[in-house]
Symmetry: C2
Subunit: 224 residues, 2 copies
DNA sequence: CACTGTGAATTGGTTCACAGCC
DNA sequence: GGCTGTGAACCAATTCACAGTG
């Protein structure tokens, strides 16, 4: 049985590593470094040179033999591949402490992620201004998505409301969701979800803490 | 060459899934569900029954043929395996907006993660009380780790300071670090790191958004 | 009879090793 | 000479399929 249709299916693990490369390359660019080898990049990211070369080879031939990769060229290429050469409009749903921290986080804008809307369902929050945005009722989501050209939603509501909020976002046409609520959301095909749950991360580490009590462990750096 | 020493090396991917099972089981337990099959659990978590059975089989035989798994029994077993049957003491370093949101996050305590210390290097922050904790200067970390029996550190400082703060934590004897700063930290063997960087998560999703413009995609739910 | 637990089969991902090139 | 790009070899993870069992 053939794979699904003719396109160069790049494995998801590879796609998830590309942003890491971008981050490292940006740092190098800022330090005026012009060329980097897969070996050097690998050392920075605690991965192997072969892995990096393999990953990149799924998208093209960016390097120069005997020399390495031009930082600028590779960076530009990866940004284009990842769609980072444009601005993305983001809505944040839920303006509790976490939502507020997200809205005010200065790390999004320089990467092209612009928070253009803040929503909540709590009447006491609605109308407040956070990070220059007036908090809107959740019912406004479909309109905002359309008018503000929102492609990404960040969900920072309590667990009980997360699935319904995600359903609404999907309904409104959003196809990428960054979910901070501790659930495994159900979404239709074609919608991407990334979940961030610090409790899960902690719980995976405690496994090694307790088993490390028995014997020492090596140090695989929990991805990313 | 043998693997490293005689123990039942459980792959890291498996360990990272266990907390997901715990989360789902807790929810079932709360709803008074007594028995669950790998099929049902798989549906909740968007994974296959075989995967769940395989994962669990690395740790023991928890199920009953023809019936499934006792929710309570399996939950207890997994909690013990992950070391969740005790209380873990956590220090939060960095009390900016994110650090404050973390300290006040009500999701940690019920899972046995108790934030017992808050630290910062900004003199204006030191002495303030956040979530019942007085903010201490970073220099106090070694003392606090010892006196408060801290095993885990959450790093929520700006990028520029993250590596040094992590070095200090390691120096102080911490062997598990949850890092929110956008860096790939360098840590010695035996120290676990989990990184949380929403920008990386967003960047992985935009890849699919732009490639999806060309043709529709299936929906693998970005892990967890 | 409906499920688990698990070897075997398969699929997927990583690493090796080297030809080719700058 | 030093590095990339890439098939081939290897290793890891997932899925299959079925024997075993409450």
């Amino acid at each position: 049985m053939p794979k699904q249709e003719g396109r160069l299916e790049v494995p998801e693990v590879v796609v998830e590593r590309l942003p890491l490369y971008v981050r490292a390359l940006k740092e190098l660019a800022q330090r005026q470094v012009e060329v980097v080898s897969s070996k050097e990049l690998g050392e920075r990211l605690h991965t192997t040179p072969a892995q990096i070369r393999k990953d990149l080879s799924s998208f093209g031939r960016f390097g120069k033999q005997g020399r390495g990769y031009s930082v600028r060229t590779l960076l530009t290429a990866l940004q284009q591949i990842l769609g980072l050469d444009r601005e993305w409009h983001v809505a944040v749903i839920g303006v509790g402490r976490l939502g507020r921290a997200i809205i005010s986080y200065p790390g999004f804008a320089p990467e092209g992620f612009k928070v253009v809307a803040a929503l909540d369902n709590d009447p006491r929050q609605i109308g407040q201004v956070i990070g220059g945005l007036m908090v809107q009722p959740i019912e406004e989501l479909p309109r905002l998505v359309k008018e503000q050209d929102i492609q990404i939603t960040i969900v920072a509501v309590p667990r009980e409301h997360a699935q319904e909020v995600i359903d609404l976002a999907v309904q409104a046409g959003v196809r990428a969701i960054l979910n901070y609520a501790p659930i495994t959301p159900r979404v239709p095909n074609g919608v991407r979800v990334q979940n961030i749950d610090p409790v899960l991360s902690l719980q995976a580490m405690t496994y090694y803490l307790v088993s490390g009590e028995r014997r020492p462990l090596k140090t695989p750096s929990g991805a990313r």
